[in-house]
Symmetry: C2
Subunit: 254 residues, 2 copies
């Protein structure tokens, strides 16, 4: 809940409003934050029970986390909502389509502008899905919706609890796993992206792809740096690789 | 002076501070805004004369333009500064280097985040310069500096009064001019970028490359769209084309 990126339309405040949203299922709820100091009346307990049953993440957080919401009557409870309905990962895997499948996996992207731009590029490039983890990654909020120029409505977005499990499952389903990393062995344009299903993993702005996910990858590709300055914006880096795969598909050559 | 993007460190306020900055040349001044209602005392007149002699743009604007600065004592005068010293266009043209030259021309980019990301990509790709017009384009301010991840200190940045004249001058200096446009004839990866100097023109987020500059271009390239969604972020589009030229250079093939 980075203060810089607070967009109040992505939150529901207060016991009654959060309870209504949970039980009436009006908007998708990603996470519920409950102030540690809040008194547990029956409504709070109902919310917690309901969230547990529905598998919605809730967290008890220090009241400082609510600092950006001083101007609303949040009563110590805030639900983080999403403008998007995520696609179910398993349903996605079962829905076979013509031709080879291309998806992107985001491993710790923090900036919602980067998330939006990547979703937008995936939409333009005809990718099949964007997978994000339910924690440690920007979630699809209204900033992402805006930066994506509406592409969130054109792209299946999948939220998973464990990227590691999702990668295993993708491998079981004949996907090759390609990670982007500054220390990769091959330049990204030396890999043949044609004739296979693949998932491209892009890592967080500061952290890169996690070590565990790098280990699971079939290829680790880098983007060559031609000046002593090693730092592409992650959405730009994603675009270079994504569109190289498009180029190869359209030209039938590496 | 879009309110959303006001970063107060990019401005100098008040008669004395603006006069000092102008005469002592501490920071580069891009433009001086003077409120139409301000009384013309000797200091204001000195500033105007000094700006005229130095060729610095000054404008008389309605006092509403100062709305975002209500919290500072601006006395009706604000100088817009830059964290960067621009490179002189003619000096750049005269400074010949080994190999072929690649530059980018930005024609109406509005978002400083996009400007920063493009400068960053140009630095990574070993491009030689970024040319921006002195009006109708985001200028290099501290938001751009931040988004560029410091790349503004690694890239020659050139500010010109007329893109049209700059393009003519580039043509005289053996540059090919390539514009990106959604209605381009060729896919960007079907052009051979090797073995020539070129300047790539990227247009504004809403407006694209201006008609006049399209007319002057030797190639107009498009990025193929694989879904019914036609809108790449401009910094991502720039990166796809820039890195295709890198790919061709490194692989010696189109």
């Amino acid at each position: 809940m980075d203060k810089k990126n607070i967009n109040k339309s992505d939150y529901i405040y207060g016991r009654n409003a959060v309870f209504e949203a949970l039980t009436k299922n009006v908007r998708k709820i990603n996470k519920i934050l409950i102030s540690k100091g809040v008194s547990h009346d029956s409504k709070i307990n109902d919310i917690i029970n309901f969230a547990k049953n529905r598998g919605i993440v809730f967290q008890f957080v220090p009241k400082e986390r609510f600092a950006g919401f001083a101007d609303v009557n949040h009563q110590g409870i805030i639900a983080m909502t999403s403008p998007v309905e995520y696609t179910d990962f398993y349903e996605f895997l079962e829905s076979k389509k013509e031709g080879f499948s291309r998806i992107i996996i985001l491993d710790g992207i923090e900036d919602p502008h980067n998330l939006g731009a990547i979703i937008r590029t995936c939409a333009c490039a005809g990718f099949d899905a964007v997978i994000i983890p339910s924690r440690r990654n920007a979630q699809v909020n209204s900033t992402v919706e805006k930066t994506s120029a509406g592409a969130i409505n054109h792209m299946p977005l999948i939220q998973v609890n464990s990227l590691s499990n999702a990668i295993d499952k993708l491998k079981d389903n004949d996907y090759w796993i390609i990670a982007a990393d500054a220390h990769g062995k091959d330049n990204y344009f030396d890999v043949d992206y044609t004739g296979m299903n693949f998932a491209l993993i892009m890592g967080g702005e500061e952290t890169g792809v996690s070590k565990n996910n790098l280990k699971k990858s079939d290829f680790i590709v880098k983007i060559p740096m031609l000046r002593n300055f090693n730092s592409l914006n992650v959405s730009n880096a994603a675009c270079a690789i994504i569109y190289e795969s498009v180029r190869q598909d359209l030209k039938h050559s590496v």
